[in-house]
Symmetry: C2
Amino acid sequence: MTAAELTEQIFKKKSFLCVGLDTDLEKIPTYLLSEKDPVFSFNKAIIDATHQYCVAYKPNLAFYEAIGVDGFKALKKTIEYLHSEYPEIYTIADAKRGDIGNTSRMYAKAYLEDLGFDSITVAPYMGRDSVEPFLEFTNKHTILLALTSNQGAFDFQTKNLENEELYKEVIKTSLTYKNAENLMYVVGATKAEFLQEIRKIVPESFLLVPGVGAQGGSLEEVCQYGITKNVGLLVNSSRKIIYASDSSNFAEIAAARAESLQVQMADELTKLSS
Amino acid sequence: MTAAELTEQIFKKKSFLCVGLDTDLEKIPTYLLSEKDPVFSFNKAIIDATHQYCVAYKPNLAFYEAIGVDGFKALKKTIEYLHSEYPEIYTIADAKRGDIGNTSRMYAKAYLEDLGFDSITVAPYMGRDSVEPFLEFTNKHTILLALTSNQGAFDFQTKNLENEELYKEVIKTSLTYKNAENLMYVVGATKAEFLQEIRKIVPESFLLVPGVGAQGGSLEEVCQYGITKNVGLLVNSSRKIIYASDSSNFAEIAAARAESLQVQMADELTKLSS
C-alpha cells in the first residue's frame, strides 16, 4: 500500500488508529485457550470488531515468537486473514530488526515479501547497510526507530551526538539512504514535545506513534505537534484496546475503546480542515 | 552455561571459535533440498563435522525466519540436537532484538527459556529497560551490539555522543544495568584497533567478534588487542566455514576450514601462557 492510499483510508474512516496485536496467552480470555488456535481466534475477534475504527494493525512479533511454531502459524493466519477480508487495512510487522546487509535482506524477504506486510519496524543502530535492504521493496515502508516511548530512550537517543541528539542524527542520516522515500519513523507519544523538533526535519513523513493509552501520552498533544495537512500520523494503542475486558464480550468492549479513540481522531481531523 | 565453564571449554578444546549457522536454502548443496528438513540436515552435518574445533554455534535467526514455519522448526531441532548431543557447546541466538520492557521479556523467554539458548544478541538503541529483561536469566548471557562489523557502524556507533563515541557510551552505560555481569559485547573484527579502547572499559568481558573470514578482519590482530588471560573472546566465522564447498563432502571441507582456524587459535593460546 502506498502512503497516499493510507492517507485516503485515514480520511475515509476518519481515523488514524493502529491497533497493536500484542496477543499474549496469559492475557486473553481463558475460555479461548481450549480453541485449536487461541491466538488467531483472539486476533480474528478483535479484527472483526475493531476494523471499522482503525486503518492499521501492528502485531508485535515478540508475542508470536514467545509461542514458538504455533505463534508463527497464528501470525501467518492473521496476516492472511487481513489480506483476504480487509485488504484496505495497512499492516505493520513490529519486528525492530536490523542486521548486516545480507541478513537484513532475509528479514525483509520474510516480512515484506513472504508474509506480505506493508511495513516493518527497524532499529537504526547498525546504520545504512542494515536499513537499505528493507527500503528496496516498492510500495512497502520501513519504519525506523527514532524516539521510542520507553524510559530507556533517554539512555542514548536523546543524548547529543556531535552537537545534535542521536534521534535527530538518525532521522537526518536516514534521509540520505537509498529509497529514503519509503521511510516512516517511530516516535513515542510520551514525548510529544519532541514531535515539533522532528517535524522540522521530516515535515511530511508518516510517524508511527506508540504509547497513547497504557504507556501514557495524550492524543491531543500528539496532534498539536505532529499532524500534517495529510495527517502523517498513525497512533497505536495495544493493551488499552485488546485487553479492555477478559469476558466473553471482550471484542465488543475492545471495539468500544477503539471507537472512542476514533471519535477523538475524527475531531482532530475536523480541526485540520477548518 | 557460565562464562567460567565457557572458558574451561576454550582451554580444553584450544579453540575460541564460534561457527555461524546462517543456513540459506539457496546456498546449501542442492542435493539436500530433496530431504524432509534440508536446513536441519545441513546444520546436523556441519555440527557433527565441526564441533571438535569450536566451542559455540550461532544461528542467525533471520535465515530461519525467512523460511517461515519450517525455519522455526529447523531452528528448534538444531538447538535440541546441540543440547542432547553436544551439551558442552555454548549456543548464541543471533537475534539482535530489543523492545520496550514487557516485550523484551517475551523475546527473552522465547530464546533463553523455551529454546534454551545460552545467550542472545541484543541491540542497545532503546536503552536500559529494553536490555534488563534479558539480563534477569541466571547463567545466561546478553550479548549487546557495541561496535558491529558492517560499514553502517560508522553512521552512528563511532560518532561522538557527549564527547565520547556512542559505542563506548553504550558499553559504559550497560555496566550500570541490573545484572550487568551477564553482559557480553559484539565487536566487529574489521575494526580491531577499537578493541584496545574497548578493553580499557571492559577488561574482562567476553567479546563476540564477527567478521573474521568473509567480512575480513585478522585473527592475529583481534588477539593482539582483545585477548585476556581468560581469553574473553569468541571469534565467529559463518560463510567461510559452512559454505566452503557445495559438494557432497561439504561437511568435511567445512571441518577442514574450522580446524585451520582452531590451529591458529591454539597458537594464540600458547602465546598467552608463555
